[in-house]
Symmetry: none
Subunit: 413 residues, 2 copies
């Protein structure tokens, strides 16, 4: 099956936002073995939309559009598709009931503009959207199917996964495509690739591996394709195990498991509690740990001592020590762990202090100097990072390193 | 001038990489007042490239392609463009001299494959590339110009800035395109649209507005196009002011300013310090406040009392009160503000406690029940939210509401 992805709206054409929707859709369609032959960003005008549908429907079996479904005046995707397919509009009571219920929950009343969203082209197959007001739509145009979804990423993803994929799978051939994802932290993608080269070089033709890096972490996606479901499953199992064994302790999880979820599982299993004492990360370690539902079973809380004085008044880091070594030092983060253990009454504390940037550096301690410490009443391990001047990237990278120290602590227990 | 950007290569079509080149080019062209009417990602086949050039050259005056210029066998952009334009290839001595010098610098010798890069289509205008081996190319096809650049971002950017822009400026038209962005919080896009409908309905034909929503916030982008730069500027100023005046206190900033930056500016100007006492947001309010560089000038820190007991031991919320009203209650968040003011020694504290979900609700306090309080020693304002079961969305939405309460506090001072 050939697919074309179309993003509608001017924000991308003037370079104001990155088209992350298309990349996400392309990777999901690739997993479903659907070949994306073109990705387009076009203007939100009736002419551009109709012209694109006319040409794309000759080149692909599936056209997926995102954007232009809000009720405001600049959103004209729905009307343009209806016009292209020659469909009249009707008032859909189910869509109205959904929006009405959604608004009632927030104690808001439906505006006239919003009622516009309840008019749908005749014959549309509605794709349910529990995350927002505008549903997705599926149209048939000869052999080609046209899909329209909102541009808001979490709405679009929900509709794709829950409402569209079941439709796409209905007409699938009997070729199976299977994946395993191994999640790693603490090693760059090229080093990983070198380390497992002899395994991946000897993959059979129907297997491949993709390296998907983010800041500080790399996902390895192993994919196999074939007609024998059971054989494929066992091959995939074998290759995943060989690779995971080779990479040993940089592997923190599988599939969609996050680092925070992996850590939570380990700490809860061993009944060990955790607290954090943060400075330059400003609460991001705590925020990341608590992103996993159920964190309250082992995570107690954090002292974000962003200000110099709070390191003394709350975490009991002595002024003498701060004056002698500075707030960004091994001695300070060790004292922060000790202060945190006492104040938060947890078994383990992770502490961090550094210069996130872009300003604030000195010749001895340039921007990007960051100290971490992790430990308990008996022993504390430390780590120093020398990062870039990019504030956002530094905070995210440091958070991942902190979580990895927590992971190593519990693995060693 | 109308432009179309074309990215050539499969990595984007399988969702492996984000198309950051196109976004960068779109924003640069926008600054040059060149209207990008379409962005395309296509396969690196001769058919796809020739077909795209044929259709794009009818729709635009400028086609900018990136990718497919390396010397490996899968890179066929140059040959496809030459074939489309009916141009013979010749060996270019200058290109050879450049590559040879580049290789000499790294003590490497030219391979046969690399010599392929020295063959250029007849009549090509070479766009110098000091950052790599493959030069950019500029072709004329009737009224349309076709540009080809490598896909490596730093090479592409160098060629664009140093070799292409001087060419583009030579033939500039005198049509200007200008934008203003107004940033709002606390009102949905449709309600905003209704509120300013009489203004936007009476926009002249050369003006338009776009509503760009994220969780809890909406950006309004007003755009105008015209030949008279000064008139355009004054019209844009007038419409922006009328809309901002109408929307009054939901407007928190302009252009690319974030909510955290806007708040920082106000608090620093009035020398008022801030602290946070968080529960269900797990540190995200603190993390968002400190995402703005320079936050340490007014933001002191946070107590993330995720665990029940820490609300008592750290924030001095009495056990009696917790037993009587529960951790998620107006009384508790007020007590958290009082405890925070004492512990963090700040002028203002914002506190939040709630059930982020997806689990943990009760019939009286369902998932998504969240209480906030913001104030000082003299007065404390509270707010209750009833959100969804989506943990991530609840945390982000609550964080934005918290920041908005901080904004309103300082505006009222």
């Amino acid at each position: 099956m050939k697919a074309i992805i179309v993003t509608i709206g001017d924000e991308i054409l003037i370079g104001q936002i990155l088209d992350t929707n298309s990349t996400w859709l392309a990777s999901e369609l690739h997993l479903l073995d659907i070949q994306v032959v073109k990705i387009l960003s076009i203007q939100d005008t009736k002419e551009a939309i109709e012209h694109t549908l006319a040409t794309a429907s000759l080149e692909a079996d599936l056209i997926i559009t995102t954007g232009g479904l809000g009720a405001t005046k600049d959103d004209i995707t729905k009307k343009s598709i209806a016009s292209f397919l020659g469909l009249e509009m009707y008032f859909d009571d189910d869509v109205y009931a959904h929006i009405d219920a959604l608004y009632a929950r927030y104690n808001r009343t439906l505006t006239e503009t919003l009622k516009e969203q309840c008019y749908m082209p005749m014959g549309t197959q509605i794709l349910k959207n529990t995350m927002g007001t505008a549903p997705g739509m599926l149209f048939h145009c000869g052999k080609c199917r046209i899909v329209s979804m909102p541009g808001v990423p979490y709405e679009m993803k929900w509709i794709f996964e829950h409402s569209l994929v079941p439709e796409l799978i209905k007409t699938r051939s009997d070729v199976f495509l299977k994946h395993r994802t191994i999640r790693t932290i603490g090693m760059g993608e090229t080093t990983i690739a070198d380390k497992i080269e002899d395994i991946t070089d000897n993959f059979p033709n129907n297997f491949c591996i993709a390296f998907l890096p983010s800041i500080g972490t790399v996902r390895l996606r192993i994919s196999g394709r074939g007609k024998d479901d059971a054989l494929l499953e066992s091959q995939l199992q074998e290759y995943s195990e060989r690779i995971a064994t080779r990479l040993s302790d940089i592997v923190f999880g599988y599939g969609s498991q996050t680092l925070a979820e992996a850590i939570q599982q380990k700490y809860v299993a061993k009944s060990v509690t955790v607290g954090t004492a943060e400075s330059c990360t400003g609460g991001n370690i705590s925020r990341t740990i608590t992103s996993a539902a159920g964190a309250s079973t082992y995570y107690m809380g954090s002292i974000v001592a962003y200000d110099y004085k709070l390191k003394t008044s709350l975490l009991n880091v002595s002024e003498e020590l701060l004056n002698k070594y500075g707030a960004v030092s091994e001695e300070t983060v060790i004292a922060m762990v000790r202060g945190g253990l006492q104040l938060l009454q947890t078994d383990v504390v992770i502490a961090v202090s550094g210069i996130a940037g872009p300003g604030g550096g000195t010749p001895e301690k340039p921007v990007g100097t960051i100290w971490l410490a992790c430990g308990d009443q008996n022993k504390i391990k430390t780590k120093k990072l020398q990062l870039s001047k990019n504030r956002d990237k530094n905070i995210i990278y440091t958070t991942n390193v902190a979580l990895n120290m927590l992971r190593k602590y519990i693995d060693a227990e």
